[in-house]
Symmetry: D3
Subunit: 164 residues, 6 copies
């Protein structure tokens, strides 16, 4: 009998973009359960609160089977173990991603050799896309409808109007 496979997809998701959703959807085809885990980073407050980010993710992922939205702090490997997961999934867009991700993956393996990291290439059409660019464009009132789902676009607009 084949055991169930669980993958963790950790990140900031401030906010979720079509690039993230492309990865989540592809991960659900391979893994039985995909936990999208928002990192609680007390150093960087971010644009959206952890709870807002989880809400935007939940709405964006509701049509995907086997996806859970969660949040964590502390060491990623401790979180992975607490969830009984087998694999960490990360997206790679560019060489600069690659170097940082390589260092993190090697570090995690030193601390938890049984936790495997799989890297997936971001689709070519989303290779330029990051949450920080989305935030920057939205802050100037620029168009983001090709970059994020409609409900995220609405949330961005509301966020930046209230800061005017």
């Amino acid at each position: 009998m084949t055991p169930m496979r669980t993958a963790i997809y950790p990140g900031s998701f401030d906010p979720v973009t079509y690039g993230h959703l492309d990865l989540i959807e592809r991960a659900t085809r391979i893994f039985d359960r995909v936990i999208v885990a928002v990192l609680r980073n007390t150093d960087k407050p971010g644009l959206f609160s952890i709870e807002e980010r989880m809400g935007l993710l939940r709405e964006a992922c509701q049509s995907f089977a086997g996806v859970e939205i969660d949040a964590f702090d502390g060491l990623l490997v401790d979180y992975v173990r607490s969830k009984g997961a087998d694999v960490v999934v990360r997206g790679l867009r560019a060489v600069s991603d690659f170097e940082h991700e390589l260092q993190m993956a090697l570090m995690n393996r030193t601390m938890a050799p049984e936790v495997e990291t799989f890297f997936m290439m971001t689709s070519a059409g989303y290779s330029f896309l990051s949450s920080s660019l989305v935030r920057e464009i939205a802050s100037f009132g620029g168009p983001v409808h090709d970059l994020v789902p409609p409900h995220v676009e609405v949330a961005l607009r509301r966020k930046f109007q209230s800061s005017l």
Copy 2:
């Protein structure tokens, strides 16, 4: 019920190194079945024949559960489909690997969107290791016992002695 997950690990394996074996062993922990597939490339003859490479792989992998050794030619995506596999697994060592692998993964997705490619980081201790470096060192009679299993070391020595 969870379906069986099959991963293809394609490569030249001329010859298999401890870097490859590290990846194969880690892949068997995640996938039910790992097919190590030697690429028949008629352009580059290589040091070992396809059959010799498969024999060295078979001996090196005999203690791993769920590993099959095979060979293929033509397009990788066609081979993956013919095996009913879900995932292609590739190792990443360095930035130069990354760029080429990124292009291949994007190209394969254009031709077969249902085939996913997962990249695994080579262990830090093997980040410099490649089959071509092993061949070069062995050709000068240098030490390769930290780089390949004993039976591959014997095969390398025999190969280079016969060419003297």
Copy 3:
């Protein structure tokens, strides 16, 4: 009065892809005259002859205003001067391109400081696309209709059938 601006777009074009055509079309919007110049490289024979490559380019570019198809050998800077051109245009897809192109551009500036090189980013959707990948896929009978125009697809099929 503004002088006419001429750009040279040199390359192998073996064969022309949608990535090349995207760049040529964008260059025509900025320059009055764009000369697509096929490099005669006697070392590498290639799949298509220089004349075939020029023919495929001519058909692919017939709807663009201000484009000429040519071929050259020798030093690029000598060719640029002989055409009275102002600018060399090159496409960048990835870091590995970047390094080689940087070296060529600096070398050319040493020899001909008045010749400027402009780099244009390849569109995200074509970042994996190269003539060599197209040749490889076509050689195995794989699908290339998203990568090259129809008349190039026909020429590729003819080329590989005749070699069976």
Copy 4:
């Protein structure tokens, strides 16, 4: 009749260096009008005020024909459109530049497909040169006369003396 070509060269210019001036001078040979546009970034205050940077640029560029000094905030593509410009010009020094610039150029193309970005390689002798390194050296009283024009050197010295 050939239309006039306008290029925008955006940046922080805090302060202008010989690397920037090399690029501006080369751009004026290709474009009829080059607008050097200082980015008003309210997040990072910088060493010189926007007005001081524009003054230093104006003095440095007074011998170049067709150069205008300006400042902008908001989205670059909105500014480019408001100026009726055709092209954004950016300098590339190194691989790390390249990746960030590639992402910005692809993002801008998503928002404004008619705005083209041209990259020019920084001259080899200036490949290490950045405004932040100039500021760092000047802050310790180190020599900057090979890196910036004399009037910028004077302005730097004054700035750091007043902060003692």
Copy 5:
């Protein structure tokens, strides 16, 4: 008669790791005198004070012959000259290191052509290791005994307990 050779190894060392110690030990085999120089950077306060970092280094290096621990501020090249040193030694781990280090080395050569910079490759097993990753792991109570000497582990634990 051969003159004595002095090398400076500058850095933040906040705190010293096994990666630093590997480099220091290897440098002592080539140079008669190796000065490990902690950069006093008033902008970034860091986890350990400059004096604490020097203390941890002194204890870690006590078995190496010819090593001195020092601190400096201002321009590196001024410090090198003041010590009568011949060479600056720096470790390279990854491509991103490489670019930044290349720029610093070229900048330093512009200011002090007689000061040479030598780069040593970090051992493969330490390629992922940095002081900032050590700080991050220790801040979450994760294991660092493979990354730093025992007395540094103790100092880290004390530092993070006192901040609870």
Copy 6:
């Protein structure tokens, strides 16, 4: 008493360029003895014979104290040991150099931990310069006087005239 320090500078030197000479000259300031060692690579014949390359190097280096010209085949680490050398010196120009050199250095350390590799940055003005580019330019009759010493320029011209 300080022991004599010997460095090996291995390479193809087909032919020697001003970039190589810049490195050799700088190495002689640090090391008592610098052995420039031409690699006998039977696979790639090259433009100049090993003896011609050594002759061009000898003439180019005659004003440098402590430089010897030699040739070697087999493993570099075996050659270094046979010479009683302490250090291998290599030049780095670009990221692509870096990756290959990193792999070679790590491999050599596996085989001979007592052999240290030092990397020196190529001067900014020579960052684009390679023997293969020199050969290519000379083959088309292009100018190489800024790239190689006069006697190498003469040798290149003779070589390419005789092949007409």
